[in-house]
Symmetry: C2
Subunit: 552 residues, 2 copies
């Protein structure tokens, strides 16, 4: 199969259109039925597959970076009488288990990015549901801050997955119904088992939508509501000029992929991919304006984009590379310098965007179903924001002293303010706070070391790395560890990691990736859904699915 | 297959022994290898199956009710050099998916009951790990408040499920390691992938156990520690006499099961079971002593035991009955009267036990993978604690007025203080607070109605029932609803209900039943674990499992 490419841009969109009108943008869904990732299915009725969601993700991102003037975003349909029919069922019926799981993960991340835009970029999303809206369509609407439904005696919102397809509304649907919309649980039960959905005033009373509006008042009402949401925004206007997310350059290199500051190294036989992030090639700019002038080549923005593309690429196109080895190269002080700059300029819209973008990219790592191992060696720059890579890893190994035949100084880890609040995980704690849940004094001790380069034994004593290892043991330890890891069941590892990475409190986000997704993955393996006589396979065939009636 | 019977008593135990020595009880695990539920496997090395856990559950329960004098419980092994080898692997390898899932649910409930005993009965558990302790064995230890490990240079604690069996430590193991013991995530990763486990001082440093003690000091140290835990207990001593949990009487009745106050009605063709709970046959006793004199026949204790047995029985022995219809019969005022009595006597050890027992039974309902429908009809007594049955249900239907040809007065729901704190769900909120998460004012409004019988339309207006239905619609509505429900995929329903029932905050308990269990259920469906070449099937065969190396 062709590798999946996550890079796109509005000029190439086949499914979405961005119409910017002053402080309001309209994000118009108008899916090209023939524009799916595969020719095996038609994307009718604004149903979607990954190709559609790749564009949506790109659009949400570009609105933040390229349109600082936009304060409210209206998601609407470009088709008559249908808002969105949800994920394409034929696509789901034919997709491999792994593709289903990764498709849902990506679409979940996109929905969360929409919520992140409303909350942190203060580009507040409004779902203008101007037609029937089912399954993933309603889940898309649920990601908005405000949902309007047209009252035409016909348009409904619905989550028909369980009655119709024997699966869950797994793109956050069940969790947002109970935890965001806070729909009463018995009404949620009725709603989620009513194929035809709910419309009109009842949808408001049940808290499924915020308002219903008649067709004649629709356009005016949507615009008025968008203006009202825009007025709630505190988005800094700056000079109104955005930063163009220029096409991401990458090239093949020794069987891997090289970006400007990031590269992927592939060891196919061992089942390992290396992700190497290079530190800033220069000092932080003198001012926010100077940083903005650098545009997409400004280092923190560039690595966010490149690292994100690398992660998505490995998730979808390299499922057999079960271990990701995370490394860095460069000058730790330059990383800390950029971190301080970003933190100091948080009132500037662009610096705020970059910080939240990096936050989202690190979160993508947290939910990536691969074993993550950070190697901290001479020449590395695990400092400040790049140290988050080590804290996101399942394990981190640090070399003590220097390597024979290498005259670079010993590796050091350096903490910055960035590690104590800029990049929370999905559980709303920092990676360090999660790490030290059982020993809050270690968190305090670490804080006292901000700015101090910490060599291996010091870092180990502070609990910042899993193990400090001598040069003469390094290669063997590493080889054995990776051989062992890749010998275990990939599924058991994915499930184990998904649990161990998220200690402590839960948020709607962790509930979506933990509880809801795990249940959906289970359902995606059950014959009642995916067997030859299951609902996903039989959908559209005219033959009823045949279910094993045993409850577990 | 023989139906599984959850009733047992110490005289019939084959795997456990209770030794009470004043305020300390020793709960000794000494599994009879030939005493498993099936003859297909031998329970070597204190490994366990459901038969062993049924006895453990019974023992934990009896210690609370029959031994008010016991303030600390020491779990230890009766075998040399082995504490417990965990769930029996051959049993797991041969069990159906449904049995695996229900086995884990029950063992999880037993572990949580141990924690509930430490916290609420103040019978504080100590795990005295006097030998190797792996998998479910360590998960049992994790349920204790304090873990002691013998330091004999050989005994380890271990969670070898992932490396050895390609499954998870799913009886709370992963969650308790991160959220109860608060082991640092990277050390947890190392621990959970190290087949041979961790011993000695390192186990203490990693927070896996609380202390290690040499063999020569072992017995004295365990006793001293138990005495110290007992001293922390505030367990009311009363007169030191317990209540004997006499054998639970039940008989077959019209294809169902009848207990003294509870009955199960089975409609096999429709896939429905009714659970009918009868209200108190008499007024509340005059005093706590009078209640204690009633012993196991005291109404709240009797219904807790009977309802629990009914739930477990349906879960394991009737997997094809996908809908449980919950009904009550009797006098609501008598229920409220008993509730008030229990609440007023909370300083009495027995009344406290009964309240927490009822709490646990209602929680069993919350995690039961069946659609729960409450029917509130004339003659019912959904009042106070019995109203929790309606609030635990996925939907509740209430009949408006009287039924034709039935001269009983219209049905009424009555709230009591019990509904506002006595019986929290696993998420630590009451069922009403969870229900009204989005409308706290409804919670307040409901509270104002404490003690007032609420007929159907009033109950519906207050949001206490899903729908109030007229007599002439009742039979049809009910028939259609049940036919529809039983036509859906049982798996999709189980997963949907597991999500919708637990809105709001998460606790270790909800993380175990939500996140951890859902991931384990997924793993239990993956060929890498359960396929012909999977690790569970190949265990002990001398042939390595063969894994699909794709990550999802």
């Amino acid at each position: 199969m062709e590798p999946i490419d996550f890079r796109t841009e509005p000029a190439r969109y086949r499914h979405w259109k961005i119409d910017v009108d002053g402080e309001i943008a309209f994000l118009v869904m108008d899916v090209d039925p023939a524009g799916g990732l595969s020719g095996d299915y038609e994307l009718k009725l604004n149903s979607y597959d990954l190709a559609v969601d790749i564009e949506l993700n790109d659009a949400v991102q570009r609105l933040r970076f390229e349109h600082p003037e936009v304060r409210a975003v209206v998601i609407k349909s470009g088709k008559d009488n249908v808002f969105c029919a949800g994920a394409n069922i034929r696509m789901l019926g034919r997709a491999s288990h792994g593709h289903k799981v990764n498709f849902c993960k990506f679409t979940n991340e996109t929905r969360l990015a929409i919520e992140d835009a409303s909350e942190h970029s203060r580009q507040i999303y409004l779902a203008a549901v101007n037609g029937s809206c089912a399954g993933g369509g309603y889940e898309l609407a649920l990601a908005a801050d405000h949902i309007m439904l047209v009252d035409d005696r016909r348009s409904t919102v619905a989550l028909p997955e369980t009655p119709l397809l024997a699966v869950l509304p797994g793109t956050g649907g069940l969790t947002r119904v109970t935890d965001k919309r806070k729909v009463r649980r018995d009404l949620a039960d009725v709603f989620c088992t009513t194929e035809e959905g709910v419309r009109g005033q009842k949808a408001v009373e049940w808290r499924l939508v915020d308002e219903v509006v008649t067709k004649s008042r629709w356009d005016d009402a949507v615009r008025a509501r968008a203006k009202q949401l825009a007025a709630r925004s505190d988005r800094p206007r700056g000079d109104g000029k955005g930063v163009t997310l220029s096409p991401l350059e990458r090239r093949s290199e020794n069987g891997g992929i090289a970006y400007s500051h990031v590269r992927i190294e592939i060891e196919r036989e061992r089942g390992v991919a290396g992700i190497v992030v290079r530190g800033p090639p220069q000092a932080a700019p003198a001012s926010a304006d100077a940083a903005q002038a650098l545009g997409a080549s400004f280092w923190p923005l560039a690595i966010a984009r490149e690292l994100e593309d690398a992660i998505l690429n490995l998730r979808f196109n390299e499922p057999k590379l079960g271990v990701l080895v995370l490394r860095t190269e460069g000058d730790g002080e330059a990383v800390l310098d950029h971190d301080r700059f970003l933190a100091a300029q948080q009132h500037h819209w662009l610096m705020r965007e970059i910080r939240h973008y990096l936050k989202r990219v690190f979160k993508r790592l947290d939910v990536t179903a691969r074993s993550l191992i950070a190697l901290i060696e001479p020449g590395s720059c695990f400092a400040g924001s790049l140290a988050e890579l080590a804290f996101a890893a399942d394990r981190s190994l640090m070399l003590i002293g220097t390597r024979e035949g290498d005259n670079r100084p010993p590796a050091a880890v350096a903490l910055g303010e960035a590690n104590f609040g800029l990049y929370p995980m999905g559980n709303a704690l920092t990676r360090l706070a999660t790490r030290f849940l059982g020993e809050p004094q270690s968190l305090e001790r670490a804080k006292e070391k901000i700015g101090t380069p910490l060599e291996a034994e010091a870092a180990e004593a502070l609990g910042l790395v899993t193990a400090a290892i001598e040069d003469f043991d390094w290669d063997d330890e590493l080889r054995v560890m990776i051989e062992e890891r890749t010998s275990f069941s990939p599924d058991a590892l994915s499930a184990m990691e998904a649990n161990l990475r998220f200690a402590g409190p839960e948020t709607m986000e962790t509930k979506i990736f933990g509880r809801l997704t795990a249940w959906q993955n289970w359902v995606f393996q059950r014959p009642n859904a995916v067997g030859a006589e299951g609902a996903l396979k039989r959908y559209g065939s005219g033959i009823q699915p045949s279910f094993d009636r045993e409850r577990t």
